[in-house]
């Protein structure tokens, strides 16, 4: 990558004696969508807050849009926008007033601010609620307003911390579309998500943060390839998942697994499904949070 919009080297951050980030390295190409995954408490929000100048790192460097977050925070602030994990809207103001306020604070004239507010209200399907105070919004509406606020200034780098949490399916699809449009217009987007299908569908590259470090990085396809080929799912007659056994995709290993299943006296009347691994499988394997049955299965195959 010749021209990363976000370049993080050996970033460390502790809270008390808890090492939340323990040497994070990350590079995000300009104009790409980058998804940061990780279990709860992995430090995703902490990392994004450091990149958006809200939190100071203990050591390491982070360059965002050419500006060092520690040395030139104002330079970074002119180039980024953060929509945090928790809604940051002014509840006393109406949706429209919130947007206009943000536009004015981003250097728009009063006239431009009004136009920008109208445009974003339309895009985020909030026109009907524009004149209502944000306090009266539903959770999903508030989230949509929150994201719209983050897009007012159209900065070159966008941080979205769990942007689709709490959104209904339609709003989520609409947001995916917006994110893709922004990226194809050149905006660099770093987002976190707990929905792995979202990372799969949206991100050019994915990184998994666990134990304070990036433990895996690559495109969705590359990550899936890491855990091998097809998975064999063993289900009971009524569809309950009994076991999940990874294979390396070769005919040999598939045959061995199937023979094992057939030899098991418990497997009368079971259904066997062979499928490609999903990002969930990757995530569970990499972060060590795999359910017991999968771990057993792995040992079985290894044996």
């Amino acid at each position: 990558m010749t021209n990363p919009a976000i370049d993080v080297r050996s970033l460390r951050k502790s809270f008390g004696n808890q090492h939340v980030l323990d040497g994070v390295d990350l590079a995000v190409e300009a104009g790409s969508i980058f998804a940061l995954l990780g279990p709860n408490g992995a430090g995703k929000t902490t990392l994004i807050n450091i990149l958006a100048t809200l939190t100071a790192a203990d050591s390491g460097t982070a360059i965002v849009a050419g500006h060092d977050v520690a040395e030139d925070p104002d330079g970074v602030r002119e180039a980024v926008s953060l929509t945090g994990q928790y809604a940051a809207v002014d509840e006393v103001l109406t949706g429209e007033e919130n947007l206009r306020m943000l536009a004015r604070l981003s250097g728009f004239s009063a006239e431009q601010a009004r136009a920008r507010a109208t445009e974003l209200l339309t895009r985020f399907d909030l026109t009907d609620a524009a004149a209502r105070r944000a306090k009266s919004y539903s959770g999903g509406m508030r989230r949509r307003l929150d994201i719209a606020l983050g897009l007012v200034a159209d900065p070159p780098v966008l941080f979205l911390d769990e942007p689709t949490t709490g959104l209904d399916a339609r709003s989520r699809q609409a947001l995916w579309r917006t994110i893709r449009e922004l990226a194809s217009a050149g905006t660099t987007i770093l987002l976190t998500t707990q929905y792995l299908d979202e990372a799969d569908a949206l991100a050019d590259r994915i990184a998994v943060l666990d134990g304070g470090r990036i433990v895996a990085e690559g495109s969705a396809a590359q990550l899936k390839a890491r855990i091998g080929g097809e998975l064999v799912e063993v289900r009971s007659a009524d569809g309950v998942l009994l076991r999940e056994i990874p294979t390396d995709g070769s005919l040999d290993s598939l045959r061995r697994v199937l023979a094992d299943v057939a030899a098991d006296p418990a497997s009368v009347a079971v259904h066997v499904v062979v499928r490609k691994p999903s990002l969930d499988d990757v995530f569970l394997t990499i972060t060590g949070a795999a359910p017991q049955s999968t771990i057993d299965a792995e040992q079985e195959v290894a044996a």
Binding site: N3, N49, H67, E78, A79, L82, R104, L105, A153
Partner: protein
């Protein structure tokens, strides 16, 4: 690499707003908050008005036998109390902002996030001057008869405005120091006792000597005596100087304390 990154899109980029625009937007925001917080507005006006009625009708009779004289004496003190009530909610407003995500949004923008506080302070000034006007109106109805000319009135309003600024900055800093909105409310309430330990309601020479010392040397007394001097023509002596000195010291100290607290909370978060 920054130029290459910047030229990736043709869309307009974040521009740094001027200080004036930022401050103006924040003032507009806080004024909207003020106007929409009907409860706080009513409290800021009702409580001092009720105190005025209480002091003139209930205590006034017992204190000097007739109502007229005591109204004239007590109004300057009530004006100060009034400003205190209205300013106390600034602590709550600031604490509320700090616990809400909106402040983090401002902090990630290329603007002086401290101007959020300026917005609250200016809104408090507007709110309290309005409340002061109402209280003075009620006082006039109750028989308050100042012998002040236009210049005296302007002077008195100026002193009141400076006092409101001082106490509001103090409350804003308290709001930053408090760990929660409720705590901000509690700490703010404590300050409201200061006017009672002053010459607001009774002359200090009626107090026991230790209390008299406190009352004479705390900031409220010279401010009240200055307003009393301007409105009633009493001799305030050097007290106007003390009054302005106190206010400026409080503003400077609260501003510095507030800036320090704000920066500290910004780093922590």
């Amino acid at each position: 690499m920054s130029t290459a990154t910047m030229t990736m899109t043709t869309a307009p980029r974040v521009r740094r707003p001027t200080r004036l625009v930022t401050t103006g937007v924040m003032i507009g925001r806080s004024l909207r908050h003020t106007v929409r917080n009907v409860d706080a507005m009513i409290m800021a006006i009702m409580l001092p008005t009720m105190l005025m009625l209480l002091f003139t009708f209930v205590f006034g009779g017992a204190i000097d036998g007739g109502r007229g004289g005591y109204v004239d004496y007590v109004v300057p003190g009530i004006i100060l109390l009034c400003a205190g009530f209205g300013a106390a909610s600034t602590a709550v407003d600031v604490a509320d902002d700090m616990s809400n995500g909106i402040i983090d949004r401002f902090r990630t923008m290329p603007l002086r996030a401290m101007s959020v506080l300026t917005g609250h302070v200016v809104a408090s000034l507007a709110r309290n001057l309005l409340a002061t006007g109402v209280v003075i109106g009620v006082a006039l109805l109750l028989g308050f008869r100042p012998n002040a000319d236009v210049l005296d009135w302007l002077g008195a309003i100026g002193v009141i405005a400076v006092f409101i600024l001082a106490i509001t900055w103090l409350y804003a800093a308290i709001g930053l120091a408090a760990r929660s909105v409720e705590a901000a409310n509690g700490y703010g309430f404590a300050l409201l006792f200061l006017p009672y330990l002053s010459s607001a309601f009774v002359p200090t020479d009626t107090m026991p000597s230790w209390l008299q010392w406190i009352a004479e040397n705390q900031p409220i007394t010279p401010i009240i005596e200055t307003i009393r001097g301007l409105l009633m023509g009493t001799d305030a002596g050097t007290r106007p100087l003390w009054a302005m000195g106190w206010c400026l010291v409080i503003i400077a100290a609260a501003y510095l304390w507030g800036s320090w607290l704000f920066a500290r909370r910004a780093r922590r978060n």
